[in-house]
């Protein structure tokens, strides 16, 4: 009896170990979790729409700005002059049009008295139309000049925090060249890079627990989207347009990582989040 008991004890422990090992394996390999997560935020790059010297810099690095707040001003002398010129041009075109209209009305009266030819009347009518078109053109030019003048005042398109401000008063900024970025307020979200083998276990609206590297309370959120594409380096070509195909081992393949975006629930008070922070993500299983 005692002999059977000692055999049974070992067998029970071995069976328990098999189940425990299987559970650990499943927990690690077949549940949707990843240590490869990053905090992200909506970044808005600030790009001047006109070129010129920065005459006034209104913000500092790291400053919190409200939507519509003045960030910096570009020297507006050239744009003011262009606007004045276009305005004068518009007036000029307006008077030209009025003159042409006046001539046309007068010639219409003359035409009824058979004093001028039909051709001359028609030429005057067309001149009036040309004068009107010139006036419309001048008005459009004035609108562009006014827009350029207003764009010398660069305002914040969103509320947020200024990041990486290296711009100084007196610097020359070029049209279309980014000068700094704004991290939009309350726009933090998390992207988890899950192995493709775990993607079938993930669906939208799935609850997520997010842990940061800093030892804070876990954040919660839910899956909003699963990335539908990642780059395939085999599709790149060299300068002769030949496909650059990567060589691989046949017996070992590395699973790709698919980005999964997670919207954060309300953040706990006082938490410091920065885009780029490392996060460990666990998704709830049914």
């Amino acid at each position: 009896m005692v002999r059977y008991l000692r055999i049974m004890l070992t067998i029970v422990v071995i069976i328990a170990a098999i189940f425990a090992g299987r559970w650990v394996w499943t927990d690690y390999m077949h549940t949707p979790w990843t240590r490869d997560g990053r905090i992200r935020a909506d970044i808005v790059t600030i790009v001047p729409d006109v070129s010129g010297w920065v005459t006034k810099l209104n913000v500092k690095d790291g400053q919190q700005v409200a939507k519509g707040e003045l960030l910096f001003s570009v020297d507006q002398q050239r744009y003011q002059a262009a606007y004045d010129k276009s305005k004068a041009n518009t007036n000029n075109s307006l008077y030209s049009w009025e003159l042409a209209k006046h001539k046309y009305e007068r010639r219409k009266a003359l035409n009824t008295q058979q004093a001028i030819s039909e051709e001359s009347l028609e030429a005057t009518r067309i001149s009036t139309e040309i004068a009107k078109a010139n006036y419309d053109l001048a008005k459009a030019d004035q609108t562009v000049a006014q827009l350029n003048l207003s764009r010398t005042q660069v305002t914040a398109p969103v509320a947020g925090q200024i990041i990486n401000l290296n711009l100084r008063q007196g610097n020359y900024v070029a049209q279309g060249t980014p000068v700094f970025a704004i991290v939009q307020s309350d726009s933090f979200y998390v992207t988890g890079y899950f192995e493709e083998t775990k993607i079938p276990l993930i669906h939208t609206n799935q609850k997520a627990t997010i842990e940061l590297l800093s030892d804070t309370k876990p954040l919660t959120g839910q899956v909003v989207s699963i990335g539908k594409a990642i780059a395939n380096i085999n599709t790149q070509s060299n300068n002769q347009l030949l496909p650059q195909v990567q060589q691989t081992f046949n017996w070992v393949r590395l699973s790709q990582r698919i980005p999964v975006d997670i919207k954060l629930d309300a953040l706990p008070e006082g938490i410091q989040l920065s885009a780029g922070m490392t996060a460990t993500i666990h998704l709830a299983t049914e």
Binding site: L9, T10, I14, A20, V24, R35, P218, T280
Partner: protein, 67 residues
């Protein structure tokens, strides 16, 4: 809750703690069995101890919910 072990800015899997922990627990069990002189009563001690190690490991992963 040990989802990750952070040492000097390096993040490790909690398994780096759970493995030695399970090993120490197994060694402790072995020591106690020796002291109580029950060691000889167990059938296939090596199998028993390896299985016990696995059980301790799974138990620590389960209780401390770490991966």
């Amino acid at each position: 809750m040990h989802h990750a072990v952070v040492i000097g800015g390096l993040e490790f899997s909690p398994l780096v703690i759970y493995f030695p922990m399970a090993f120490i627990l197994t060694a402790l069990t072995r020591f106690i069995l020796h002291r109580l002189d029950w060691h000889d009563r167990i059938w296939k001690v090596a199998w028993f101890e390896v299985s016990l190690f696995m059980c301790f490991l799974a138990l620590s992963v389960f209780l401390l919910s770490g991966r």
